[in-house]
């Protein structure tokens, strides 16, 4: 009985902190509106249309060739078809994770293309660097909606791919990447900066080791 009185008193005390119903309704309206605009049916439509376009491209032998052949490089007349298929892939990716995966795949593709261009001693390597930077930008943006753990994993992969790209290009690209990193918001900028610094240290260590090996090799045997 006394407990009942006490509980009632406590609940009455809690009522002093009740939020204003007008505020609750206004806030709810915001979410109802947003929830309506994010209907999965529209997402499904987007996915279906994009997939159909992709399948149509691939089904035509030219599309499949343009998409997967190593001889279709930036200077090739079929290269724009590859770019179109990639754009379709990007719009078909509906979840943040899928978006990031697609961007990483495209970034890896730019690295592979760069290697082939270098082997061919192509003159379009500078344009390819710009293309790589654009894809990298999209991959970084795709990471913005991921969880911190997934974002960190994505950032590490991007850095690894950048490293591979830098190995097969001229020295102007790292400078551009440094500029891009300077533009990133604070927590991600630090992550990228640290990863690049670590990579540089690792390279210097490797160079040092190689030098030591060489000098040991030169030492006259007694």
């Amino acid at each position: 009985m006394f407990d009942w009185f006490l509980k009632r008193k406590l609940k009455r005390l809690g009522r002093h902190a009740e939020p204003d119903p007008a505020f609750l309704r206004a806030l709810e309206r915001q979410f109802v509106m947003h929830a309506k605009t994010s209907r999965p049916s529209s997402v499904a439509w987007k996915y279906a249309v994009a997939s159909l376009v992709g399948v149509a491209f691939l089904a035509s032998g030219t599309g499949a060739y343009a998409y997967s052949s190593d001889s279709v490089l930036p200077e090739h007349p079929l290269y724009p078809i590859r770019e179109s298929i990639e754009r379709v892939e990007e719009s078909a990716a509906v979840t943040p994770r899928l978006k990031a995966t697609v961007q990483l795949r495209h970034l890896a593709r730019r690295v592979h293309e760069q290697k082939l261009l270098r082997q061919k001693r192509s003159s379009v390597q500078e344009q390819q660097a710009a293309r790589f930077l654009q894809t990298m930008e999209r991959a970084i943006q795709a990471g913005e909606t991921l969880s911190p753990v997934a974002q960190e994993r994505l950032d590490r992969t991007i850095i690894r791919l950048e490293e591979r790209f830098a190995e097969s290009t001229s020295t102007t690209l790292p400078e551009r990447i440094q500029t891009r990193i300077q533009m990133l918001p604070e927590p991600r900028r630090m992550i990228y900066k640290n990863l690049l610094e670590r990579r540089l240290e690792h390279r210097l260590e490797q160079m040092e080791e190689n030098r030591t090996d060489l000098s040991e090799g030169e030492r006259p045997t007694s």
């Binding site: 006394f2 407990d3 006490l6 509980k7 008193k9 406590l10 609940k11 009455r12 005390l13 809690g14 002093h16 902190a17 009740e18 939020p19 204003d20 505020f23 609750l24 806030l27 709810e28 979410f31 109802v32 947003h34 929830a35 309506k36 994010s38 209907r39 999965p40 979840t95 943040p96 909606t145 969880s147």
Partner: protein, 164 residues
């Protein structure tokens, strides 16, 4: 989870989250409203990534708690952030603003005399409106143990209120 389910989720937790913030912001209604909006906006943005293994209440409570910590770290660096649950409870800022009655003030004083864990249980359960199951999830205890604890705490409160 599907974002279309968010309005339902919002209706279920908005009062509790608002009260959680209101008490810890010293009864500042407009600030509590702003932070409540921020918390639910964050929850809405992350709703499709919400892991259903975690209970809804623990999830939204954690968002609110972290948001409050960030806010207080900016505005009141002297506040002990580890003690966020007790922040402002021991001051009667909100009670002054809310113009509570004399017997209610006595009740609040009696609650603040309780051991920290007991006081927190009463506040969460009766003033903020969380269920025993919600609190059990937040604290990693069984709801049965909390019910027993609440029974004992109410008894202590009753005794404290009888004293002149």
């Amino acid at each position: 989870m599907d974002q279309r389910d968010f309005p339902q989720f919002y209706r279920k937790y908005v009062q509790r989250i608002y009260k959680f913030l209101y008490y810890r912001l010293g009864g500042n209604t407009s600030l509590a409203q702003d932070l409540t909006q921020d918390v639910f906006l964050k929850a809405f943005q992350a709703f499709d990534r919400y892991d259903e293994k975690i209970s809804e209440s623990s999830w939204v409570y954690t968002i609110a708690r972290n948001h409050l910590i960030n806010h207080l770290a900016k505005t009141k660096p002297q506040v002990d952030l580890e003690e966020i649950e007790n922040t402002n409870w021991d001051h009667d800022d909100w009670a002054t603003r809310a113009e509570i009655r004399y017997d209610e003030k006595r009740l609040l004083e009696a609650i603040s005399q309780l051991p920290k864990q007991d006081a927190m249980l009463v506040r969460r359960k009766y003033l903020e409106g969380w269920s025993y199951e919600d609190i059990a999830e937040m604290e990693g205890r069984s709801s049965g143990a909390l019910r027993v604890q609440a029974h004992r705490v109410l008894k202590q409160l009753r005794i404290a209120l009888k004293q002149p």
